[in-house]
Amino acid sequence: MPAQKDRLHGTLDALVLKTLTGGPRHGYAISRWLRERSGEAIVVEEGSLYPALYRLARAGWIEAEWGTSDEGRKARFYRLTPEGRRQLQVEVESFRRFVTAVSPILFTA
């Protein structure tokens, strides 16, 4: 079902973008942050995280740059572009509308 896949993609994209609002992070940091923030509820599969990062970079929403990690290792850092920031707003807004529409149906007896 392509629609559902889009939904999932969209959600993952939004989550990744959101992760980067706090500043540049590398892929491992992103996956950790997502895990911790959701109280381990969401474990983004690394198998989907990295393709998502490359997809977002291609769309111009994030930019990659090599830098040094806290441990002093070379790592690829991702940073939100202005277009990415705008995209995040769009995604958040769209998710809010979705939840608003779905909640009364799902949560009432």
């Binding site: 599969e45 690394e46 198998g47 393709p51 990062l53 490359y54």
Partner: protein
């Protein structure tokens, strides 16, 4: 912000780190981090590593997916960067050009001149030579001719019928006879060019009629009903483009013909101006006749067959015919050539030579623009050095400068197309008649493409060297010394450009000089007759009413009688052909005493003339007598020969009183030479006089009336105005037969002018190109010398302050300016030799290595170069030394 991103894109471009490595490094880092986290949580390193891999899933396929996405991104970025750079270069170039309007205007106009001239001539070449003919398969349409001693000739009916019978390489093989017919519709009869054609003539070209149909197979048989196909021109001109004309009948040569079809506009496949076509019907006698060669044969090769195959098939047949009919077909071979090639003929080469000449002008223009760009590059050295210091790569600067010259080239092309359009109008208005398809010249897609190509070439040629030079300059020294430090004194690139320009201009001028000398020569060539005051017109007698030879002779004599003594006429004559007029015919002549073998025959132009022909045309009698009233039918047969024929028939002996066999069976076979007349240049001053002989009108062989279609040319030396003479001719003809039209009325002075029009046109064209080239070269020399002088102003000031005499300084500067000019002249000598070889076929009365043309071109260039050198040099002498020195 945008600048920074641009910078990053640029770096990404240069770096281009392999995506594979990036992805691998990134994933490796991730796995190591997870492993370390697990180890810190208390796992053994080995197990932690395995667990990290397990959690990650299929590393291989994730890596592959990421690489694909990454590569796609890189491609897109590169494209975007390229586009944005181009846009940046363009806006920058535009700004630069706007900042220097004088430079821009000069460069654009120079290029426009070069591109415009080249494009205009190319459009003509395209129209005449390159554009395919409007036939279904132009490449398969062939002209099939007999050859007589290697020269292509018309074909006899017998040969045509025999060749057609065996040929399988041709899908259609059709014959055409050019003829003239009288169209009797309305009050004024009209004489028209017509084609008598076999029914499949139209199939050869695959052109369908606009209305109705073409001929049916049974319609070119003897005794078939009379039908006619009209040309579009005649249909609109005489019949008001009436579509209901098809099926109606019109009167042609006194007989009623049913119009079965109308051909579309522009259908004139043999470029001979036929206005209608009637079927040709060969009688059994004609089909067996091999000696009368008058058919034009065209064929459509069968699918997949080549010209060489057709030739190989027909050649042995022709050889056999030559053996079977030795008298009729001596020394005959076969020639198969694409019809398009036959029609375009010499024009192909002539136009290409002209195109080459305009190409030279374009190159001169390019050299000038290159010089301008060099001067500008030097002036901008500082700006470029700063850009280089700021990190712009060398290629980047070259690209930037090339973009600028490309922009110049495009602007030049735009203006050049306007020039070309104007040039085409002038070309069409001034071009001589008779260049096939020239009137269809226009600016179309192919021509625009050519202009664009010329512009690109011009940009590249003129921009590359200056751009490379500017990018190569030593950044540091420029920044330290400023622009002045660059190219002090000598500058071999500029000198080289000047030498090249001079060489090109010299080539052009020598070419033009040779053609001008030819034109001068031609204007002095004696034509062999006195064209002033001669008026000519053709009269043709329709076979239907004038069948017997006696009838034809008698009628022409009556016309002549009516003319003699008419007001406005001082002398009148009749001839089957006059110089520069239509008609013709030749026979193989056998001087008496020579063995009767084909190689002894002298092919000689035949003229059937009235008694006063030589007096009327002013052809000199060298020996013997002219024709007289006693040279009548039944009297001893006589002929008059040209000096050329006399010399060939009886070399070293007198021809007078000797006998020559020709044209008829005995007893009239041998004819006595009673007079020798001067040679005549029948086809105009470009042609050499060939052997010619004259027969008296009343002794014309009966068959000859069929050969010349019962058509004679009336020639009148006027005593009053040309109009009076024409009126007298009309009256004389009308009084004999009021249905006979006069056609081809002209004066021989006009005809003479027309015969050299094409040659004069080319001369004018090349002369104009030579002058444009000369002017451009002068501008170039002036610019460079002025530049040198400018660079050396300081040095000149110092020299003068130290006591140098002005003459010394002037000599020094002149030498510097003239040295490349001299080098150019030497180089140009090679170019001139090449140009002369190309033009050789067009030259008359002047050798390709004509010292006058060479000296004139050299002197002209040297003068122009001297003026262009001295003018800026003299200005330098007015420099005030104290001021120059104070400046430093």
């Amino acid at each position: 912000m945008a600048r920074k991103r641009f910078h990053e894109q640029l770096r990404g471009l240069i770096w281009k780190a392999p995506v594979t490595e990036e992805v691998d490094a990134e994933l490796r880092f991730h796995l190591e981090m997870v492993t370390r986290e697990l180890v810190e949580g208390g796992m053994a390193p080995e197990a932690a590593r395995a667990e990290a891999l397990r959690r990650f899933g299929d590393v291989e396929s994730v890596s592959k997916e990421c690489q694909q996405l990454g590569r796609a991104e890189q491609r897109e970025k590169r494209r975007a960067a390229w586009l944005s750079e181009l846009l940046q270069d363009l806006t920058y170039a535009l700004r630069q050009l706007r900042r220097a309007p004088g430079f821009t205007l000069t460069a654009v106009l120079t290029l426009a001149l070069g591109i415009g001239a080249t494009t205009a001539i190319f459009s003509a070449v395209h129209s005449v030579v390159l554009r395919p003919f409007p036939w279904a398969s132009p490449e398969r349409v062939m002209m099939v001719q007999e050859t007589f001693r290697g020269e292509p000739a018309d074909m006899s009916v017998g040969n045509y019928v025999d060749l057609k019978a065996v040929s399988t390489t041709f899908r259609h093989l059709a014959a055409q006879e050019f003829t003239n017919v009288s169209l009797q519709e309305g009050d004024t009869p009209e004489r028209l060019s017509a084609g008598r054609v076999t029914h499949d003539f139209f199939s050869v070209f695959g052109v369908r009629p606009q209305l109705g149909r073409t001929f049916l197979p049974e319609e070119d048989a003897p005794g078939a009903s009379s039908v006619v196909v009209l040309g579009h021109g005649l249909w609109t001109r005489r019949f008001g483009a009436d579509p209901s004309l098809v099926g109606r009948s019109v009167r042609i040569d006194g007989a009623s013909h049913t119009v079965v079809g109308v051909m579309p506009r522009g259908f004139d496949p043999t470029e001979s101006g036929e206005e209608l076509w009637v079927p040709i019907a060969f009688t059994p006698t004609q089909r067996a006749e091999h000696d009368e060669h008058y058919l034009t044969v065209v064929g459509l090769l069968a699918e997949g067959r080549a010209r060489a195959q057709a030739h190989a098939e027909l050649e042995p047949v022709m050889r056999e015919l030559s053996v079977r009919y030795p008298r009729a077909n001596p020394d005959r071979g076969i020639s198969v050539r694409p019809l398009a090639e036959v029609i375009v003929g010499d024009w192909n080469e002539q136009l290409l030579v002209t195109l080459g000449a305009v190409g030279l002008v374009l190159l001169i223009a390019c050299a000038n623009v290159a010089n301008l760009l060099l001067a500008r590059g030097a002036a901008r050295a500082r700006e470029l050095a700063i850009r280089a210091a700021l990190g712009a790569g060398r290629m980047r600067i070259v690209r930037q400068l090339l973009t600028e010259s490309l922009l110049l080239g495009l602007l030049g092309a735009a203006a050049g197309i306007l020039f070309a359009w104007a040039g085409i109008q002038v070309l069409l208005a001034s071009a001589p008649e008779g260049i096939p398809r020239l009137d269809e010249t226009r600016i179309d897609g192919a021509v625009l493409l050519f202009a664009l190509g010329a512009a690109l070439l011009a940009s590249l040629v003129s921009g590359l060297a200056p751009a490379l030079r500017a990018a190569r300059s030593d950044v540091e020294s420029v920044l330290r010394q400023g622009a002045r430090g660059l190219s002090q004194g000598r500058d071999s690139l500029r000198a080289g450009l000047i030498a090249g320009e001079v060489a090109l201009a010299f080539t052009l001028l020598v070419g033009a000089g040779l053609l001008v000398r030819t034109a001068l020569h031609l204007s002095h060539v004696p034509p062999g007759f006195q064209p002033e005051g001669l008026v000519i017109a053709q009269v043709g007698l329709p076979m239907a009413r004038y069948e017997s030879a006696e009838q034809v002779t008698r009628t022409f004599e009556r016309v002549l009688e009516g003319l003699e003594g008419a007001p406005g006429v001082s002398s009148a004559a009749l001839s089957s052909q006059v110089p520069l007029g239509p008609g013709g015919g030749s026979n193989g002549l056998l001087p008496e005493g020579r063995p009767e073998t084909p190689d002894q025959l002298i092919n000689s132009v035949r003229r059937v003339v009235s008694t006063r022909y030589f007096e009327t045309l002013g052809i000199a009698l060298k020996e013997g007598r002219r024709f007289e009233a006693r040279d009548a039918a039944g009297a001893p047969p006589v002929m008059i020969v040209s000096e050329e024929l006399a010399a060939r028939a009886f070399p070293g002996e007198g021809a007078l009183g000797r006998r020559i066999n020709c044209c008829e069976a005995p007893p009239n076979y041998a004819k006595e030479v009673v007079g020798i007349v001067g040679n005549v240049r029948t086809r105009g001053p470009m042609s050499d006089p060939g052997p010619e002989f004259y027969l008296p009108l009343r002794q014309a062989p009966a068959k000859s009336w069929d050969w010349i279609d019962r058509t004679m040319t009336l020639v009148v030396r006027r005593s009053g105005s040309t109009a009076d003479a024409i009126t007298a001719m009309r009256t004389a003809v009308r009084e004999v037969d009021s249905t006979l039209p006069l056609s081809g009325i002209t004066t021989l002075e006009d005809a003479l002018r027309a015969s050299t029009a094409a040659s004069r046109f080319r001369t004018l064209l090349l002369a104009v190109l030579g002058i444009v080239g000369l002017l451009l070269a002068a501008v170039g020399i002036y610019g460079v010398v002025a530049y040198f002088v400018g660079l050396r102003t300081r040095e000149i000031g110092v020299r003068m302050a130290l006591g140098a005499r002005p003459m010394d300084v002037l000599r020094m500067l002149a030498w510097q300016g003239l040295r490349p000019v001299l080098a150019g002249l030497v180089l140009g000598g090679l170019g001139a030799a090449w140009a002369a070889r190309l033009l050789q076929a067009s030259l008359r009365g002047v050798g390709p290595a004509d010292p006058v043309a060479l000296a004139a071109a050299m002197a002209l260039l040297a003068c122009v170069a001297l003026v262009a050198t001295l003018a800026p040099a003299r200005r330098a002498l007015r420099v005030d030394p104290s001021q120059v020195l104070g400046e430093g």
